[in-house]
Amino acid sequence: MKWALDIFTIVAVTAGAFFFLAGTVGLLRFPDVFTRLHALTKADNLGLGLVILGLLPRVDSVFTGFKLICVWLLVLLSGSVASQLIARAERRRETRP
């Protein structure tokens, strides 16, 4: 059972790291603000979500696991709000002559 959980952690955290890597590549390579935001929010959502999913079997108490999930949800909330605000500011800048 122990090794199965270990493999689960390794796979999930590696997949999470892959999304962070892909998000960073997107941030550097994509042409404009909107597509860059798109790349960045994927890293937050899926990357951090998978890393936390992978860490969940390793926590020593239910409370710690709950805190980890809260961290993910809060990052989701702040990430989506920040990207909306940035996108709106960019749209306003574009429409202004």
């Binding site: 809060l74 909330l77 702040s78 709000v81 909306q84 605000l85 709106r88």
Partner: protein
């Protein structure tokens, strides 16, 4: 264990530090400073200094970063003009000389430090049980070095008075910053409704666990101040006029309770800020409880800035 895995963050921190100094654009430099603060937070976590990491994230990266971004935004209109004025060669050489001297003096001081460093840690560890506080950082800050913490709170109060003193005469006693208007159905107003209940609980939690685990009033107060500022920025509420009596009372209540407990200690335990036997923990919690609302007010108002408009405007 410092292995090759730690080399990555070290290189990043140094590179980001250099980049922040070299960045020509003020706003970019401020953003670089915030990222630098977050990386430093990681470094402190890696060094098992979780208390320092929390403070760095809240005050060093977060609050100072927000202050710097505010300053950069204000400077934006004059920045191009300021950059056009290049200093003469004499000023440049003088600046380089002074900077090199300061760096050399600092390097000498660091290299001249005795090794191993003189420490009171064993003595503190031997006496920590007297305070009945589980978190050694809190015990040191509020028992052995309580004077420092008291002066720190008062320095913050002075900093706020410094910010307020920038107010034009006609706005004295008025509300800080411009009135914020955001779309009441927009995303900012939404998050300003959803996040504060969670943020207040997290802030109180970080404050409360500070007695036995990493955390404390400073970090908790920063989070609560941030929640208040969020509702102000979303236009859900307005910053209070700085002339209000409740505000002034709230600002000084924390330091005053601290000083009062210090004086009680001078009478009953023989020294200013000494705690009578057996009362150390309740008194420490009383001080933290009194300081936290004052700190939250001070930090939020510092970010809100100097008063700019009266009630009617």
């Amino acid at each position: 264990m410092i292995g090759w895995l730690d080399a990555g963050p070290v290189v990043l921190i140094l590179a980001l530090g250099v980049w922040t100094v070299l960045a020509r654009d003020t706003f970019a430099a401020a953003v670089g400073f915030i990222a630098y603060g977050l990386l430093l937070t990681l470094a402190w976590v890696r060094l098992s200094g979780v208390d320092v990491a929390l403070t760095e994230a809240a005050i060093g990266g977060g609050l100072t970063g927000a202050l710097l971004i505010g300053a950069a935004t204000r400077l934006r209109t004059t920045e191009a003009a300021a950059r056009a004025e290049t200093p003469g060669p004499f000023t440049k050489v003088l600046a380089a000389l002074v900077a090199a001297l300061v760096a050399a003096a600092l390097a000498l001081c660091v290299l001249a430090l005795p090794d191993p460093a003189p420490t009171l840690a064993p003595e503190v560890a031997a006496n920590i049980a007297v305070t009945e506080v589980g978190n050694p950082i809190t015990a040191v800050l509020l028992a052995f070095r309580a004077m420092d913490t008291l002066l720190e709170a008062i320095v913050l109060l002075f900093a706020l008075i410094g910010v307020w003193s920038l107010a034009p005469d006609r706005a004295w006693g008025g509300r800080p910053g411009p009135r914020q208007y955001a779309d009441p159905n927009g995303i900012l107003a939404y998050v300003a409704r959803v996040l504060p209940p969670i943020g207040i609980i997290v802030g109180m939690y970080i404050f409360w666990v500070g007695a036995d685990h990493p955390g404390g009033k400073f970090q908790g107060a920063t989070i609560i101040a941030a929640m208040w500022l969020l509702t102000i920025m979303a236009g859900l509420t307005d910053a209070p006029p700085i002339g209000r009596t409740w505000l002034r009372v709230g600002l000084v209540a924390g330091p005053l309770v601290f000083i009062a407990i210090g004086i009680v200690g001078a009478i009953s335990a023989g020294a200013f800020l000494a705690y009578p036997d057996g009362f150390a923990k309740p008194l420490i919690i009383a001080i933290e409880l009194a300081l936290m609302p004052s700190l939250a007010l001070i930090l939020a108002l510092m970010l809100a800035g100097a008063p700019q408009r009266m009630e009617s405007e």
